[in-house]
């Protein structure tokens, strides 16, 4: 049946929908079961890290006589090498990770969108200069850079960490944003805006970029997952300062204090790993559902 390829059938009367775009997205998201599950997981974990300090006493005292205790009524997930409550650490230990993840993703995205759309819209020298910059940034080994910077400046502030992560991870996304804008700017509505002298900045950021909203949102979530993995990796390797308690530091400590060899230490290592994995799984499910919503061709297989 080589020759029989069904053409797309134009049935505009069917395509008329009444709702706005935003509630349409929400409706479609809710219809996808995994998308909804992902959304719930993500919202719960974010809610936990934001609101937990209001309900949980942040004071987590050291009990030298109660090290590596198994789960009990007092300590549901047992205690760690210093006799500190594990559950408390897990509940409270997401803050830095999530903050750095979201903030780094935001920076990545902001740089990628601004550079990508300017490069694509103006082309010429600006385009080649920015493309060369992506090449340079991509060749910088991120881990080494972070280790060096960490050694010299002692990266104590999570904001600095997020900035660093953001500044070195934008090139790939910038290139795909650039490709999107290259195709969008050929659309007739962009030419129509040019015919009215609406100004380049307005055309780029008001007419073109919002058309990629779905794409940008999906990539934001992906950037969050990447930044989180990078950060946890830094902590586990001990490249980031080990002040306070967060999921990454917990894993690092579990490793250095030999929790993996102790049956009682299992909760201490598994709890942060599960928290991270669960959050990442939620984000991935959410991304999948969003992709299907914004790009219906995918959902048909």
């Amino acid at each position: 049946m080589t020759a029989v390829v069904s053409p797309t059938v134009a049935e505009p009367a069917l395509a008329q929908s009444t709702g706005g775009r935003a509630d349409g997205v929400l409706r479609l998201l809710v219809r996808s079961k995994s998308g909804l599950a992902g959304l719930i997981v993500v919202v719960l974990i974010i809610g936990m890290t934001i609101f937990a300090p209001l309900f949980v006493d942040e004071h987590n005292p050291v009990h030298a006589d109660n090290r590596w205790a198994g789960p009990s009524g007092d300590h549901w997930l047992g205690t760690d090498h210093a006799g500190k409550d594990v559950l408390k650490q897990v509940v409270l230990g997401g803050r830095t990770i999530l903050y750095v993840g979201f903030f780094a993703a935001f920076i990545t995205l902001a740089i990628a969108v601004v550079f990508g759309s300017l490069a694509a819209y103006y082309r010429g020298k600006l385009d080649s200069a920015l493309l060369q910059l992506t090449d340079v940034v991509m060749t910088v080994p991120a881990v080494v850079l972070l280790a060096v910077v960490g050694a010299f400046f002692g990266l104590t502030s999570p904001t600095m960490l997020a900035l660093l992560l953001g500044v070195i991870t934008w090139p790939v996304l910038m290139r795909s944003i650039r490709a999107q804008v290259l195709s969008l700017k050929e659309r007739e509505f962009v030419e129509a805006a040019r015919l009215q002298d609406l100004g380049s900045m307005r055309i780029i950021f008001v007419e073109i970029v919002p058309n990629m909203a779905g794409y940008i949102l999906i990539n934001f979530i992906i950037a969050v997952t990447n930044a989180m993995y990078a950060l946890v990796g830094l902590y586990v390797l001990g490249l980031a300062p080990l002040a306070g308690a967060n999921w990454g530091i917990m894993i690092h400590q579990a490793w250095t204090y030999g929790a993996i060899y102790l049956p009682e230490g299992r909760a201490f290592i598994l709890a942060p790993v599960c928290a991270i994995a669960l959050f990442q799984l939620g984000l991935v499910m959410l991304t999948r559902a969003l992709e299907e919503t914004f790009n219906p061709r995918l959902s048909r297989g």
Partner: protein, 345 residues
């Protein structure tokens, strides 16, 4: 018409413009040496088949593409030599309507946002309320009333005809004196097409807007171009140019004749076989020698038509580019080939 034109206030003058595209198969001369003009409140229809260069010509007229040779003059000034301020004035004065109303409106912006943007950008509307009222007035101009029902709608909530009306309203926002419309009605359904055409005709009469109207549909050109002029294009050149009534009612060029006889028509009329010698249009990358229509032309004279490219000369009250029609095998060079005759009376 150079003499007559000056009294009639020529808005836009294409002077011997050419456009060449480059492709893998070599240079494609999309438009070659086309001279046309349009005045205030006047209509010029460009008709022809795909690849004849009508859209390229229209894009040059609207300043969307720069000709590789010749010049486009708006009110006497070359539009590619304008200073910044004159360039803005030109941009406001000449607007373009795209063929596809599904692509020419930004899908994520409401009708109000689309119409208000040029008004606010160019300082025609001070406040949001002012912009809202002016946008409503623009919708009324394109017969979309009550405007309040449409201003907050997104393009996907409108029908094709309504979208095209919004596109026209946007083109009117800056008070243009010339509108270049590229197949503006060809994507619309039959039942609403003439409604949009009639609305455009009304704008021409009420606002004295000139039109360059591109269409492949001769019936539409006849209907919209009543009282104006038609230029028939073939492979990048104008082959016949004159008053709409003359060209449609009594075509001279064999290509125009073939087109008219090929139009399917509900009205009973003479329906002859176009009598072409070939079905397929030659490739722009390998144009036939002499008159480019000669391989298909029923009037083909060997030795003449395939050797010399005919010039656009006056015949039967309009301009025709055909050796046979001109009645002379070796076309005598005209004094001024750009001089237009029979147009814009």
């Amino acid at each position: 018409m150079t003499g007559a034109a000056s009294d009639q206030s020529v808005l836009l003058d294409l002077k011997a413009v050419s456009q060449t595209f480059h492709s893998k198969r070599g240079a494609l001369p999309a438009v070659r040496d086309v001279s046309l003009s349009v005045g205030r409140g006047e209509v010029l229809c460009l008709v022809g088949e795909s690849g004849c260069g009508k859209t390229t010509t229209a894009r040059m007229a609207a300043g969307l593409a720069k000709p590789v040779a010749g010049s486009v003059e708006f009110e006497g000034a070359d539009i590619w030599q304008l200073g910044k301020r004159e360039r803005v004035a030109y941009r406001k004065a000449v607007q373009f309507i795209h063929q596809d109303p599904y692509a020419s409106l930004n899908p994520i912006r409401t009708v109000y946002a689309t119409l208000a943007a040029p008004l606010r950008k160019h300082g025609l509307a001070g406040s949001r309320k002012d912009a809202w009222e002016q946008a409503a007035a623009l919708l009324a101009r394109v017969e979309m009333t009550p405007a309040a029902n449409f201003l907050n709608k997104y393009p996907h909530q409108l029908s094709g005809g309504q979208r095209q009306r919004v596109a026209v309203a946007r083109a009117l926002a800056l008070g243009p004196r010339l509108i270049v419309a590229d197949e503006a009605t060809s994507m619309l359904d039959v039942s609403i097409r003439v409604g949009v055409l009639r609305m455009l005709s009304k704008l021409r009469q009420e606002l004295d807007v000139g039109f360059v109207f591109i269409t492949h549909d001769l019936a539409i050109a006849r209907h919209f171009g009543t009282g104006g002029r038609i230029a028939v294009m073939y492979l990048g050149r104008v082959v016949e140019h004159g008053r709409t009534e003359d060209v449609i009612g009594d075509p001279q060029h064999p290509y125009t004749k073939a087109l008219l006889s090929a139009v399917p028509d509900l009205a009973p009329g003479p329906r002859r076989d176009p009598g072409l010698r070939g079905v397929d249009i030659p490739d722009l990358a390998a144009l036939p020698s002499g008159c480019t229509f000669h391989p298909r032309c029923p009037l083909y004279v060997p030795g003449t038509c395939d050797a010399v490219e005919p010039e656009l000369l006056e015949a039967a009250g309009r301009e025709v580019a055909c050796h046979v029609v001109a009645g002379q095998a070796d076309a005598a060079p005209a004094d001024d080939t750009r001089e237009k005759t029979g147009g814009g009376v």
